[in-house]
């Protein structure tokens, strides 16, 4: 069963982003891998061959690319794939303990799927959420941030009932509603952005 045979518009859209050349076709490799993994959860041998044919390369080359990157899976993951950031900024906030807790509580090691098929875990490197540490990403669905022990317990409880909580999407609180930054004392500083718009619009050089 081909995955892409009945998805010609999608394939055409992906190829249209790159030059109409052998090199350009090869550029579609990672987006095609992403499509398959989003739909099926992992990339099987047969899908590698299919993508290789589309990109004008070999399945071995495709596997070589997959093995380079950390977010592709060649085996199914659990229904909830927990990716725990383990780099220093999260470690300073206790990510090692978070990781140990998950591995013990869920009784699952990296590369395994828990007995009920629900959980798999992966230690990942810095996900760019250092201001909201510790954190984890669940599947491709978003960041769960400031995951302390009680928040972790609430998340796991929901997942065990197959109710995935909404990810956090907090933005830094550093800029207020008027576009001004707020000092730790609570004082908003500087002109507002609206004020800044009244700066002389002198740009344009001598043109």
């Amino acid at each position: 069963m081909s995955y892409f045979a009945e998805k010609q518009p999608l394939v055409a859209d992906i190829f249209s982003r790159y030059p109409d050349s052998p090199q350009g076709r090869r550029s579609a490799l990672m987006p095609l891998l992403r499509e398959v993994q989003d739909a099926e959860g992992f990339v099987s041998e047969s899908r590698m061959a299919e993508i290789a044919a589309l990109c004008g390369t070999t399945a071995t080359e495709v596997r070589s690319v997959i093995s380079f990157y950390s977010t592709y899976h060649t085996l199914p993951t659990g229904k909830y794939h927990l990716q725990v950031c383990s780099t220093l900024m999260c470690a300073l906030a206790g990510s090692d303990e978070l990781w140990d807790h998950l591995v013990e509580t869920l009784d699952v090691q990296p590369g395994e799927v828990s007995a009920d098929g629900r959980f798999s875990v992966q230690k990942v490197e810095c996900l760019g959420s250092c201001g909201t540490a510790p954190m984890m990403q669940i599947n491709d669905d978003g960041y769960y941030e400031n995951v302390g022990p009680s928040k972790c317990a609430r998340i796991l409880q929901s997942l065990r009932q197959d109710l995935q909580p909404l990810p956090d999407n907090p933005v830094p609180v550093t800029v207020g509603a008027d576009g001004r930054q707020v000092l730790a004392t609570g004082q908003a500083i500087g002109s507002s952005v609206t004020g800044l718009h009244r700066l002389p619009e002198q740009a344009g050089g001598e043109a």
């Binding site: 490799l29 490197e125 996900l127 959420s129 800029v175 500083i189 050089g205």
Partner: protein, 447 residues
């Protein structure tokens, strides 16, 4: 001689200066800030019209005059970089936005991508116009799923509105923009590795020269800039080069997104003029440390850590001052390391990171970092250290530094050598008595 030159206004070097207001982050966190109607209501897509009125060469001159330097870490002069693109070679030109943000301690670009995508699109149209590029790619790290979705949505909005495509706003300039998602590899932040990844290959770095402006993506002239750099270009075209050059120090001009992480009261991203001191960021904006500190990583994990002293805290955060203090401004990602944490263990975490992220292409990095350095630190932190281990790490570093294919191995040596320099006694304790001066402690707690 009656007329004297007017006194030039004093440059802004603190966000507490009433003349300062955030621009890059002014809309981050506002409702609907990522939509085209919001962006246009707030003056969006006016800077690009100004660029079209100026002409491409004047745009490059304006960016040169602004003093903008690359915000991805290296701090190379942006206008100069743009001027390296060949003008009339008849070949297609590319521009790429490096949105692979993966230097530990850096988290500024994620919010720009997801909260203000049109600011980036506008900056890329301006840059594409200046550099005669017809196609741009935004290479977003694979884990930034939400950011990639927001970027795609914004690109579609811009296309519908005639801001991307043929003859943009009647200027005669054609430009297309696409998102290309990475898949999890730190090395993709290195520009030639990024281009290999975009070409569907393993992300090994390429030999330089040729530099990307001569032979980059698909062998064609290419320029790569960081997300924040393109966004700064949008603001420069909005408020003018003089406005930008009126902030910061003599050689480090403009505003910068500083990030602060570790145990502080208000970690996060702060937009401050270059030349702001560490002390102002840490105490006045981030509310101060929550416990006693001993080290500051000033600009992302590869920048050598500095000791927690008054003279370091009073160092202005600009490219030159941080270099003079013995480190680098990098991405502006400041991390504080508490006194009670073992510095060898903290450095081991970063060594493990670089060992994991080494691409394996060259021997000094593959054998030196991924294998030897990793094992030496494992040995120390697991209580199996021996006298001579620290000297061995220093000797290895001598053989790795400056000998690897790209900067990744040197990036690993940043924390290694600086932690030995400033906290040698902690290493000697582990090598001599197998006991850390600062034993492991519980850190995981509810916010």
């Amino acid at each position: 001689m009656t007329a004297t030159a007017p006194t030039p206004p004093k440059p802004i070097t603190s966000a507490k200066d009433p003349r300062f207001a955030p621009t890059l982050y002014a809309h981050v966190g506002q409702a609907e800030s990522w939509t085209l109607p919001y962006y246009r209501r707030n003056g969006g897509y006016e800077p690009v019209k100004r660029a079209f009125a100026m002409g491409p060469d004047a745009v490059i001159e304006e960016v040169k005059k602004s003093g903008l330097r690359g915000r991805g870490g290296a701090g190379f002069a942006t206008g100069l970089k743009w001027s390296f693109m060949p003008l009339k070679d008849g070949k297609p030109h590319y521009i790429i936005c490096n949105a692979d943000e993966s230097e530990p301690g850096s988290f500024k670009d994620r919010y720009l991508l997801s909260e203000d995508p049109h600011q980036l699109i506008e900056g890329m149209i301006i840059a594409g116009y200046a550099m005669r590029a017809s196609v741009g790619y935004i290479y977003i790290r694979g884990e930034y799923v939400h950011a990639a979705e927001r970027m795609w949505a914004a690109i579609h909005e811009a296309r519908e509105a005639g801001l991307l495509g043929q003859n943009i706003l009647g200027s005669g300039f054609d430009f297309q923009l696409y998102v290309h998602r990475g898949a999890g590899a730190y090395i993709c932040g290195e520009e030639t590795a990024l281009m290999n990844s975009l070409e569907g290959l393993r992300a090994n770095p390429r030999l330089k020269p040729p530099f990307p402006a001569a032979a980059g993506l698909y062998g064609l002239p290419t320029t790569i800039n960081n997300v924040e750099t393109f966004c700064a270009a949008t603001q420069i075209l909005r408020y003018g080069a003089d406005w930008h050059a009126g902030m910061g120090t003599e050689k480090s001009k403009g505003m910068k997104l500083f990030q602060i992480s570790g145990p502080v009261a208000r970690p996060g991203v702060y937009e401050l003029p270059l030349g702001t001191t560490f002390r102002e960021l840490i105490y006045d904006w981030a509310g101060g440390p929550l416990e006693e500190m001993k080290a500051i990583i000033p600009g992302g994990s590869s920048c050598p850590m500095l000791p927690w002293t008054d003279s370091i805290l009073d160092t202005p955060m600009d490219y030159e001052s941080v270099a003079a203090a013995g480190s680098m401004l990098g991405t502006g990602g400041v991390t504080l390391i508490p006194k009670a944490d073992c510095i060898v263990n903290a450095t081991w975490n970063l060594v493990r990171f670089y060992g994991h992220e080494s691409c394996g292409k060259c021997t000094p990095c593959r054998e030196g970092i991924s294998s030897w350095m990793t094992r030496m630190y494992q040995k120390l932190v697991t209580g199996r250290g021996q006298p001579g281990d620290v000297q061995l790490i220093l000797d290895m570093s001598d053989n790795i530094g400056g000998r690897s294919f790209c900067a990744l191995a040197d990036a690993c040596l940043g924390p290694v050598l600086s932690s030995i320099k400033h906290f040698r006694e902690e290493y000697d304790a582990l090598a001599g008595t197998q006991q850390p001066l600062y034993p492991a402690r519980k850190r995981w707690k509810d916010a």
